[in-house]
């Protein structure tokens, strides 16, 4: 079925018609509008994306399609018509015939969608049999296992008997897709399903959904906050703002010819990777400020399958790199690649099992506790979560000056001067010093975090996913702030992030991690335009962008997920997913080849004399 035909069908006989739907939050004295006059049609086999920022009503819209509005939300006006029946008027009993059988729903938080104490297979079999009683127990099991195979869940029979907590986010989302599609529903509501996933996994899931739509002819309502993702998957887009439909158009129209300023801003805000100029700060002195030499860290956890033995989780395996004074150094990788462990090692919250870290040519390994305390004055860690990294019972002022007290950096009379100085620098308005963190927004809290880190005038700031809890507008503002602070104080930053767009925008040199190893390190331009390692290429191909991706996902995107850091394959750890693996990759670790501005660990490169 071509896209044009699908749209024609939509005009002919839509299977779903949403007509002037209004949803309110009802309290005893008044109604607060959440959704206002939402109308759209959906035809058989069509994918419609609904895009909007958090707070725009995306999830409420998705849930109201299932007639699943938790109190105090009420559909006050309008209808959700499925082939003429208003879903909103159905009784609990009638709804049961709808949910699962005709409409299926997948939410963003797949890890809490199933009871963690019951094996995966049981959930799916009992749902299939509840919705389609004609299936016997064995038939249902067979169907689920076949579908697991179809959505490329490895070893489906074993996984059928495993428990939800043993599944990664991406695998769990595949399970939920099977759960939704095993009963051949006509409509699938996919509510922000890629949101918690890593880019390569999110891309896999979107492609899977797209293929399944072709196979089953299911209509899909795909809600997401990511415009590139929506443009990638759907035939039509609905732009939602403050609970109203602003615009309905094809992805091409939205990108090339947006109908409203909001849509235009939305599309402009999507980071441009290749078409924009980025000039992150480079080191002027070329002096090494932090030197990491072959550090490793292994954790031990209980192994339920062995007697008294622990299993070794090799989180960081022999990582080396230098950070130069005044530069922005990026460390990227997906979940489980070891970047958080590395940040704990860099900030000496934990000690490496092996290897050495030098700060300004002094080894941290051999420092005693008072030297270490002095050192902490000079480098600071800013954490990911602005909610849990601030003590809730202290005022912002107390939080920010606490490091001064610990390090006795200045006489107590000077505390308040320093406090206001720092607060002005990070953009905290006067008066916030008496607030509690809970009275501030996420981005304000993150500024408190930054102020606390800066107050002792450190040289090096380690930013561990500091931006990931903020929206793109706030991220941009904070990045500007970082630039300015850097110019003023000659800070060195280490950005640890999963977000390639952020790294592209902010960092002069970038290190790519996979399973605790550095697979490639290169200058920004080199990495984004000519990545050499197949993993770097795959990461870039999975990036949601509105420009044409320089890397074709169908050629370089990875299948599957990284192996567990407990069972790291022999030889090259990337071999199990590498599209071009050689024989030698199975037996020997790839050598470290210096290339251009950095280094790469790959047999393909080592054997290619052109580099």
């Amino acid at each position: 079925m071509t896209k044009n035909q699908t749209i024609d069908d939509a005009i002919d006989k839509p299977i779903l018609t949403v007509n002037k739907l209004n949803v309110v939050a009802r309290s005893s004295d008044k109604d607060t509008a959440i959704l206002t006059d939402i109308s759209f049609n959906l035809s058989k086999g069509e994918i419609l994306s609904v895009i909007g920022e958090s707070g725009s009503g995306l999830t409420v819209l998705s849930k109201s399609l299932m007639n699943w509005l938790p109190s105090p939300l009420v559909a006050s006006k309008g209808s959700v018509l499925y082939r003429g029946d208003n879903v909103l008027n159905l009784s609990t009993n009638e709804l049961r015939k709808f949910r699962g059988k005709i409409f299926a729903y997948i939410g963003s938080d797949s890890t809490t969608a199933l009871n963690p104490t019951v094996p995966i297979g049981r959930h799916l079999v009992s749902k299939l049999r509840a919705v389609m009683p004609e299936y016997s127990e064995t038939q249902a099991q067979k169907r689920i296992i076949d579908l697991f195979d179809a959505v490329r869940i490895p070893s489906p029979i074993e996984r059928f008997n495993e428990f939800p907590f043993q599944f990664s986010g991406g695998m769990m989302q595949r399970v939920m897709i099977v759960d939704a599609l095993c009963t051949d529903p006509e409509l699938l509501v996919a509510d922000n399903i890629t949101q918690p996933l890593d880019v390569t996994i999110a891309k896999q899931i979107v492609r899977l959904l797209y293929d399944l739509r072709d196979e089953f002819g299911t209509s899909v309502v795909f809600s997401t906050a990511s415009l590139p993702m929506a443009a990638d998957i759907s035939e039509r887009l609905l732009v939602l703002q403050n609970g109203r439909v602003l615009e309905e158009a094809t992805p091409k129209q939205i990108v090339d010819n947006p109908g409203t300023n909001y849509t235009k801003a939305l599309s402009e805000r999507v980071p441009r990777i290749w078409s924009a100029k980025h000039t992150p700060m480079k080191s002027l002195t070329q002096k090494t400020i932090l030197s990491v030499k072959n550090v490793s860290k292994t954790y031990f956890t209980t192994d339920p399958k062995a007697y008294f033995s622990k299993q070794a989780v090799k989180a960081v395996r022999g990582v080396s790199f230098d950070v130069l004074e005044g530069e922005n150094f990026g460390i990227v990788g997906e979940s489980g690649c070891g970047k958080s462990t590395l940040s704990r090692l860099l900030s000496w919250v934990e000690k490496p099992d092996d290897g050495e870290i030098l700060f300004e040519n002094k080894s941290i390994n051999t420092m005693n506790s008072s030297e270490l305390k002095n050192l902490r004055n000079q480098f600071q860690l800013i954490l990911q979560d602005p909610y849990t990294s601030l003590p809730g019972h202290k005022t912002v002022g107390e939080i920010i000056i606490e490091p001064l007290k610990i390090h006795r950096s200045c006489p107590p009379q000077a505390y308040s001067d320093r406090l206001f100085e720092v607060m002005t620098e990070v953009g905290l308005p006067k008066g916030t010093e008496v607030s509690l963190p809970s009275q501030l927004s996420a981005s304000m809290r993150q500024r408190v975090n930054i102020a606390r880190a800066m107050v002792t005038k450190p040289n090096l700031l380690i930013l561990d996913e500091t931006m990931s809890s903020l929206d793109q507008v706030e991220q941009a503002r904070l990045l500007d702030l970082f630039d300015e602070l850097q110019r003023r104080h000659n800070f060195t930053y280490i950005f640890i992030s999963h977000d390639l767009a952020l790294v592209r925008r902010a960092c002069s040199r970038v290190l790519v991690m996979y399973l605790g190893r550095v697979v490639e390190m290169a200058a920004n331009e080199d990495l984004f335009f000519n990545p050499v390692h197949p993993y770097s290429q795959a990461l870039l191909s999975a990036m949601p962008t509105l420009e044409k991706n320089r890397f074709d996902a169908s050629k370089v995107l990875l299948e599957g997920e990284p192996p567990s850091p407990v069972n790291i394959p022999l030889g090259c750890s990337f071999r199990s997913r590498c599209p071009n693996a050689l024989e030698i990759c199975a037996t020997e670790s790839p050598p470290n080849s210096p290339i251009r501005s950095g280094q790469v660990e790959c047999h393909l490169i080592a054997q290619d004399k052109n580099f």
């Binding site: 938790p70 699962g100 299926a104 009871n115 509840a130 939704a180 009963t183 339920p304 399958k305 007697y307």
Partner: protein
């Protein structure tokens, strides 16, 4: 299976250490508290020489660690020593008469005779408590603001504040003496266990019903319950197959951590009031009579029982929720 074996090995070895420690503490404390057991055995009329002889015979003049070591080595042979007081026939062997030489009852035998009776009482009490708390706790937990919930919580407040001694005497007075429905004192058959079991159940159910209700309420709020309904399952299915299963884990842990102790504690009191010849009555009497071997034996065995109950509880919990195996 590997999990179960390594779990049991690890926990049983830890448990052994706990039992030994408790044993040693009890053993030492009993020898520090005032009251000379030999004097009790031989009576006030005996001469110092006789006292000394008996003390030597019983090994009470040796240093404490030696006494404890001897005690442990005897235990490994299944010998918990002999009662200072009780004669083999069951009558008291004390009183200062010439019968200090009467063969005294083995502690293990005394405990062996008492355990089945206590087990009947504890089992019956727990069964009554569960019969009452499970339906009410689940009903209250499903509708935390409903009438049943309010009544249940009020009732459990009353239950928890009733002194068991008062309740026991009241029950004896009304059900046994006035109405004549059930026997109350001693033990001649199962019907003798019913009244004391009710007293135990009242105390236990006050705790269980509250914990169960709040555990069900918390589980009902988990995302997977509503998500299951939207996936196409009925709410009844979600409750019977998932909510009750998950809500049972905190209750099991409560059993291990608190109820074991509570049950044993009240067993002692309740048995004493009803003169019910179980482990509790044996111990209370032994304490009054400074019957060290009996107290030690009971203490070690009940500690071991508590340790085993806790191990079982954790094992079952880990069977219900596999995450606990990690």
């Amino acid at each position: 299976m590997t999990f179960v074996l390594s779990f049991l090995l690890r926990r049983l070895s830890q448990g052994l250490v706990i039992v030994l420690l408790v044993g040693f503490v009890i053993f030492s404390l009993l020898r520090i508290v005032p009251g000379d057991p030999v004097r009790i055995i031989v009576g006030p009329m005996a001469t110092e020489k006789q006292v000394e002889e008996i003390a030597n015979e019983l090994g009470l003049n040796d240093p404490l660690p030696i006494q404890f070591g001897r005690y442990l080595s005897e235990i490994t042979e299944g010998d918990f020593g002999n009662s200072f007081i009780k004669a083999k026939g069951g009558n008291a062997a004390s009183g200062g008469k010439e019968n200090a030489g009467v063969e005294r009852a083995a502690v293990l035998d005394l405990i062996k005779n008492a355990i089945p009776l206590s087990a009947i009482l504890a089992g019956l009490g727990t069964a009554f408590a569960l019969m009452f708390s499970i339906p009410l706790g689940i009903a209250a937990g499903l509708r935390p603001n409903g009438l049943i919930s309010k009544l249940t919580f009020a009732l459990s407040s009353i239950f928890v504040s009733l002194p068991n001694i008062w309740l026991a005497i009241l029950l004896i007075l009304i059900v046994s003496t006035q109405l004549g429905w059930l026997p109350a004192i001693g033990y001649k058959g199962l019907s003798y266990a019913i009244l004391p079991a009710i007293v135990l159940a009242v105390e236990l159910s006050a705790v269980i019903v509250r914990a169960l209700a709040s555990s069900v309420t918390t589980t009902m709020q988990e995302n997977f319950v509503q998500a299951g309904v939207v996936r196409g399952l009925t709410l009844q299915h979600m409750i019977s197959r998932h909510v009750i299963r998950n809500a049972s884990i905190p209750i099991l842990n409560l059993f291990g951590a608190q109820l074991g102790g509570l049950l044993l504690g009240s067993l002692f009191i309740v048995e004493y009031i009803f003169n019910y010849p179980g482990l509790g009555l044996l111990t209370v009497n032994a304490v009054f009579q400074r019957d060290f071997p009996v107290i030690q034996g009971v203490a070690i065995l009940t500690t071991a029982a508590l340790v085993i109950i806790n191990i079982m509880v954790d094992l079952i919990s880990a069977g219900i929720d596999r995450r606990l195996q990690y």
